[in-house]
């Protein structure tokens, strides 16, 4: 099987890696780079636990090949916070109790962060639609959706 040399920026750090053809981005993050915040749920693009930003847009990292990321910029949940400051969605989800077991949380954070970037003031329907690909089996979603609303308000204050 062929191996490929790729240059990829992960959480603002440029990395050079050699990856086999069949390695997914999720596998590379978790197994080669120990960035285990990205979770392996369904491996089929349905649960959203592996959501990361690929060139600024959320994708299911189980559905992207590592080799496709040559030259790309990846942000995982580990790279969401600033050096001393959590991202507003992280602050909000802590404040609102939007986490129970935590398995879906990294994906929820990335999807919500991306939503607030493209739509700083989303309606509840827009939040629900944006999170349709992030399954949570604990919370019933109410507090997660509240967290996104609170994060939107936090952002508008800091802006």
């Amino acid at each position: 099987m062929a191996f490929h040399k790729i240059n990829v920026t992960i959480n603002n750090e440029l990395d050079q890696l050699i990856v086999p053809s069949n390695m997914t981005l999720m596998h590379m993050l978790r197994e080669s780079l120990a960035l285990t915040g990205t979770k392996n749920g369904c491996s089929a693009g349905e649960c959203g636990a592996c959501t990361v930003l690929l060139n600024g847009e959320p994708v299911n990292s189980c559905m992207v090949l590592a080799v496709e990321c040559d030259g790309a910029k990846i942000v995982t949940v580990e790279g969401l916070a600033g050096k001393k400051q959590l991202d507003p969605i992280q602050e909000a989800i802590v404040q609102e109790g939007g986490v129970q077991c935590g398995f879906c949380t990294p994906g929820i954070l990335i999807s919500s962060h991306a939503l607030l970037k493209r739509n700083p003031n989303p309606s509840e329907d827009e939040i629900r639609e944006a999170l349709v690909g992030n399954l949570c089996r604990c919370t019933g979603y109410v507090r997660i959706i509240e967290s996104v609303k609170v994060a939107a308000r936090m952002q508008s204050v800091t802006d």
Partner: protein, 297 residues
Amino acid sequence: MAINTHPSLFEFDYVQPATLAEACEFLASHAVEARPFLGGTDVFVRMRDGFLTPQFLVDVKKLKGLDDIHFDPKAGLTLGAAVNMNRVIASPEVKAHYPLLAEACRSVASYPLRNRATIVGNICNASPAGDTIGACLTLGGILHIHGIHSPRQESLASFFLGPGKTILKLGDVVTAIHFPIPPKGSVGMYLKLGRNQLSDLSIVGVTALGHPDSNCKSGYRFRLALASVAPVPLVPTEAEAYLANHSITPESVSEAARLSADACSPIDDVRGSARYRKLMARNLSAKALSEVWKKLN
């Protein structure tokens, strides 16, 4: 069949051709063991489930021109094969002239998945459940195909042969889909019945498009396309012809819906029984046609 629960996929070689010609040549010379792919949202799932075991995956999405959206007020819209569904939804030209296309894309899975999923991929996958195929059929989609010899165009209406089977030949790569400008006053709608409100595959999907047409006895032409009710995405031509030739009334809409359901040959599967599908094909056809008719007036 072995299910691969490992986060990576079965072994294969990733191939990134530099040009379209190179891609076609590679695909032609590796008949059964190579497969082109775009977003991979169908291919990877089927590989994990053991239904596909390609030796080579040929990544065609970075080829020149495949990522373009081109709109001409006279000629219409051309979407490159690699244009993802979120870009289709966000395109101002699509919003203005082809809202049905955006509606169909929005019904697919989730936002992150739509960042990878493409309309052309959805079409080439040739699943009868493909959510965007109905819109493409009713809007008169034409596929641009690059083969080993020369480029050609094929009507989407004659593209599907069976589940996963199309008229594509060895070495063919679909490079774009083109849509003529929709007839004046067109109104479209996609009704999707899923096990949940958003994101699931369809149990039955009905796309309807209607517009005034002085060539039809009724004064209107309706196009219909049904998902998940036959081996291929289904165009119930008898229902369409009926509405072209009879005044549009609740009765004629109901008769067209019956003809639409009659054309279906669904199967039982995990999402629903054949009987249920047939009943819902009739109900949803009636609903879609009535809603479109309401908006036309």
